[in-house]
């Protein structure tokens, strides 16, 4: 019987060590697409978190009934249902944001993060561990998204969430809010995270 991580370990792992975006390189489509502003990024992070938590709880509750070769179908059905519900809730109560996010909300269905967590964690551990995992991963995802969004929005428009941060004399780097800016920002941040990680493991190697 392999030692599965405790709920607390699952929670902590999701935030930085096993960050879905920077470490596992999953869920990159929304990371690049909706980070041209802080508000869309936060909305997407909350939406993904909600779907991830609901799907993890349901799958964890029925984990003993899953047949091996039909489990992907069950995962897909559950995730698609919750994404439909979240999409409708957004269209009803946050209509402008729903229009801004457009087709990227239904694309949560094929977001690798959710299927991966269902497969790795929810289908094997109890509800508490699955929920902790979902919350941790969602926080990690949110941190990644807001980091990229903050940089793109500040450099691209001088504003953050619609509030003017830099003086209006700042020549907005419009490329930052356009597609190339997404690639470049994320690439540079990924290199930064890799560098920090390698420095830290070097230090630990020298100490030990």
């Amino acid at each position: 019987m392999t030692n599965l991580p405790t709920p607390f370990e699952r929670f902590i792992q999701g935030i930085l060590p096993e960050n879905p975006v920077y470490r596992q390189l999953l869920g990159l489509c929304p990371t690049l697409a909706v980070t041209n502003g802080l508000k869309p990024a936060l909305t997407m992070a909350v939406a993904v978190g909600a779907v991830l938590l609901s799907a993890n709880i349901i799958i964890s509750l029925i984990r003993n009934l899953l047949k091996p070769h039909l489990r992907i179908v069950v995962f897909t059905l559950t995730i698609a249902t919750f994404v439909t519900i979240v999409d409708r809730l957004l269209a009803a109560y946050l209509y402008q944001m729903s229009k801004a996010l457009g087709p990227y909300i239904p694309l949560i269905i094929v977001n690798c993060i959710i299927i991966c967590r269902c497969e790795v964690c929810a289908s094997r551990q109890n509800v508490l561990a699955a929920s902790a995992d979902a919350v941790g991963q969602a926080i990690g995802f949110g941190l990644a998204l807001t980091g990229i969004a903050a940089i793109r929005e500040i450099l691209g428009t001088g504003m953050i969430a619609g509030v003017q941060l830099l003086p209006t004399a700042w020549p907005s780097w419009v490329i930052m809010v356009l597609p190339p800016g997404a690639f470049l920002t994320f690439g540079l941040l990924l290199a930064l995270v890799n560098w920090i990680d390698s420095v830290r493991s070097n230090n630990e190697g020298r100490k030990g």
């Binding site: 039909l70 691209g156 419009v174 356009l178």
Partner: protein, 228 residues
Amino acid sequence: MERALKKRTAGVADRLKNSNFAQAWLILVLALIFGVALAAVQANLSGVIAANKLNETLERVPELVWGTATAARMASQNASVDITPGTVTIKKDLKTSYYNLFRVTHEGKLAGWVVKAGGQGYADKIELIIGLDPGADTITGLFVLQQKETPGLGNKITFPRWRNQFIRKKTSTPLVVTKGKSQVPNGIDAVTGATISSRSVTGIVNRTIRDVKGRLTPATIRFYERQL
């Protein structure tokens, strides 16, 4: 003989148990539960979503017909404004196009029209609503519903300062876009660095007015009940 028969029935029972249908019971139960959940969501939220979509345009209508200040004053006085949606069909050169519009009446009198229009911008489609006076002789307002122009350049067409150029322009002659301060009465200053976006919006306005002018009569418009 008996043992062979028993083995065969056991084999059939086993096959039934492992058949796809039996194993799929979980999926069928889940599909049923989720179906009920989705039906509940649809029943509760579809009205709210449809209202959101309609209100997006409806709440702009007063300020397009009367201007922002007057519309705000009327709203604070709870003035009764009747907005009736309708469609006008234009048949031209074998092509049929539809324009969705709203007839705005205040205290029984026709106050103006608001026409929904769209067309190709620089980057993607642009959707506008245009306010016209009762005779469709003057433009009373312009609002950009949807655009995907370049941020910082083309998307300045949404700024009130640029849109307000269209107010009080006569519809008798088409509007022209000029770079820099325009000297003619039907001129529109282009956004600096976004000539194509400015031209697209002006082109959409010109085309809509040309199509719709003279057809804003009860005979040619099909009105329908507002479903709210």
